[in-house]
């Protein structure tokens, strides 16, 4: 038949790699922030024992998984959900949506409002994780960019913010 073709649209390897890197980094930063920042620790303490959540891109990842271990410590658990019991799944509907979030053109709250995320799990837990993500982004990003990425930029004591930022970066990059 004229004017007809079947095609398999290609992949977007560079965008996928960027999002995968960001998820890896943010996952490890959450682990570090739970040790360093009292508010992040309190958010996780309020969640059920062994609570695990994933944040990933539909339909086939990349994904990051973060959860509490037996001692209640927050751990980055890699990218593979296979065999892990996940209480809260936050799925970004497509790679372009993830790029908007991880290039900080849209905050998590804005992305949710714009129908870019699907949440499978308890809403209070999802709200807690969004608050944690906001705090971690404030630590990881310069103020100018972080203001775009979070709903409200917190008014923190400068010295404490820098001290915590160094410890979170050290934790995320070197696993310290």
């Amino acid at each position: 038949m004229n004017h007809y073709k079947e095609m398999q649209p290609g992949s977007k390897p560079i965008k996928r790699a960027y999002v995968a890197l960001m998820l890896w980094f943010v996952g490890r930063a959450i682990e570090a922030a739970a040790r360093v920042d009292g508010v992040v620790k309190a958010e996780f303490d309020g969640l059920s024992p062994g609570f695990t959540f994933s944040l990933g891109v539909m339909p086939q990842g990349p994904t990051m998984i973060v959860g509490k271990d037996d001692q209640g410590l927050v751990r980055y658990r890699g990218w593979d959900p296979e065999g892990q019991k996940i209480d809260l799944k936050m799925k970004i509907k497509n790679l372009e949506g993830a790029i908007l979030m991880f290039t900080f053109q849209e905050s998590t709250a804005l992305a949710t409002a714009r129908n870019r995320l699907i949440v499978d799990g308890e809403v209070p837990a999802a709200c807690a994780i969004v608050r944690v993500l906001d705090i971690v982004e404030v630590y990881l990003l310069p103020k100018l960019i972080a203001k775009l990425a979070v709903k409200r930029y917190p008014d923190w004591f400068f010295g404490e913010k820098i001290r915590n930022r160094i410890r979170i970066y050290a934790g995320a990059v070197f696993g310290l």
Partner: protein, 389 residues
């Protein structure tokens, strides 16, 4: 008093995704409708403009296989549907994506009837038998070259007129990349048709709070954006607003019987082969003046829809309806100054005076006969023929 009528019904099954990167949601939305292999239908013109590639790129990283048929003609027929039926079945497609308005949606709706049952169901539906099978998922990607029926229960295929609520697309996507700049006159005609559908919904005796809400959205989107888009067609937000307006207007229109101006516009368009939106735009002020003179409508707040809340609040109640007509005429005058060859009267569209009587007499405006006084129809057409804005 803000109170609903004692009883009303409203139906709109469409999920709407509008805005930046809305297109990229297609794979996940199709997955939610248990569809994994869509067939995209579009026209050679849209394909040549790269629209098909933009939609295909939205499926990047989805692992889905898609089919593209880019040969939808301006007048699709049953033979095309039979060919597409074979193509759809033989290649295992399970959803249809209509990229573009008018004939593309007509083809998509007709094909959906055929592939969800049998091709014979088309003739059966056209003869008045209801559809018995649930249709496959249908997604529509809107632009600004529309026939006015894309998101409604209506479709036409050559001599067949198809009507069923099941034909309304399940999903509509309005993404600025797929609402490209069209010729100014085409965009103006689409906006004027939406305007007519919305204004007639406002004044319809069977209107309800939901048709009002949709009509209000449509009129505000149009009035606040139409001249900006015509002056600056690269205004992406404005084009997006006009495409949204079309959906709003069509949804309110779909829930009420077609109004007099719409029916007359379609009938006159058939007789003179002109874009019906332009004709409707020329007829609308005369229709409103007639309604005002006859005081048949109990609607006193039309200017709220046309002029917006601030202008409405600053207008004396008795002057409100007249201001609504004046505002529409102002828009028409502005369009004349911006859009090349924009008509000043239906005369400029090639309609002859002797045709007017023929349109009434031959019943080409069949839908309006019986509901409206033929003398009113004649008056409106004559006024629109004689008056040059």
């Amino acid at each position: 008093m803000f109170q609903p009528q004692s009883a009303y019904a409203f139906y709109s099954p469409t999920k709407v995704l509008s805005g930046n990167k809305a297109l990229e949601n297609l794979p996940v939305e199709l997955d939610g409708m248990n569809a994994v292999k869509p067939l995209i239908l579009t026209t050679p013109v849209l394909s040549a403009r790269g629209m098909e590639k933009i939609v295909a790129s939205a499926f990047g990283d989805s692992n889905l296989t898609i089919g593209v048929f880019s040969g939808v003609p301006p007048q699709p027929d049953l033979r095309l549907i039979r060919e597409l039926y074979g193509l759809y079945r033989d290649n295992g497609y399970d959803a249809i994506i209509a990229l573009g308005g008018g004939p593309v949606l007509d083809t998509a709706k007709a094909l959906n009837i055929a592939v969800s049952g049998r091709p014979e169901d088309l003739e059966s539906l056209a003869s008045g038998n209801p559809l018995t099978k649930k249709l496959r998922p249908l997604a529509a990607i809107m632009n600004l070259d529309l026939s006015g029926c894309e998101m409604t229960r209506y479709a036409s295929l050559g001599p067949l007129s198809l009507t069923s609520p099941a034909l309304i697309p399940d999903l509509m996507i309005i993404d600025s990349r797929t609402v490209p700049e069209e010729e100014q006159k085409t965009m103006a005609a689409t906006a004027l048709m939406s305007m007519t559908q919305a204004v007639e919904a406002c004044l319809h005796p069977a209107r309800n709070p939901l048709t009002d809400a949709y009509a209000y959205g449509a009129t505000r989107f149009i009035m606040e954006n139409i001249t900006n888009v015509m002056r600056n067609p690269s205004d992406r937000k404005g084009r997006l607003a006009l495409a949204n307006a079309a959906f709003f207007a069509q949804t309110s229109f779909d829930n009420l019987a077609p109004g007099m101006v719409y029916e007359l516009g379609m009938a006159m368009s058939r007789s003179c082969q002109t874009n019906p939106g332009l004709i409707m735009g020329m007829l609308l002020p005369h229709f409103l003046l007639l309604e005002m003179r006859k005081e048949t409508t109990d609607r006193k707040d039309l200017y709220l829809f046309i002029g917006g809340p601030e202008a409405f609040a600053g207008t004396m109640a008795e002057a409100s309806s007249r201001k609504a007509v004046d505002r529409i005429v102002e828009i028409l005058l502005e369009l004349q100054s911006i859009v090349a060859d924009f008509p000043r009267s239906i005369r400029d569209l090639g309609i002859k005076k002797e045709d007017l009587e023929k349109i009434v007499a031959q019943g080409s405006a069949a839908g309006v006969r019986g509901e409206h006084d033929p003398q009113d129809i004649r008056n409106i057409m004559e006024k629109a023929w004689e008056t040059r804005f």
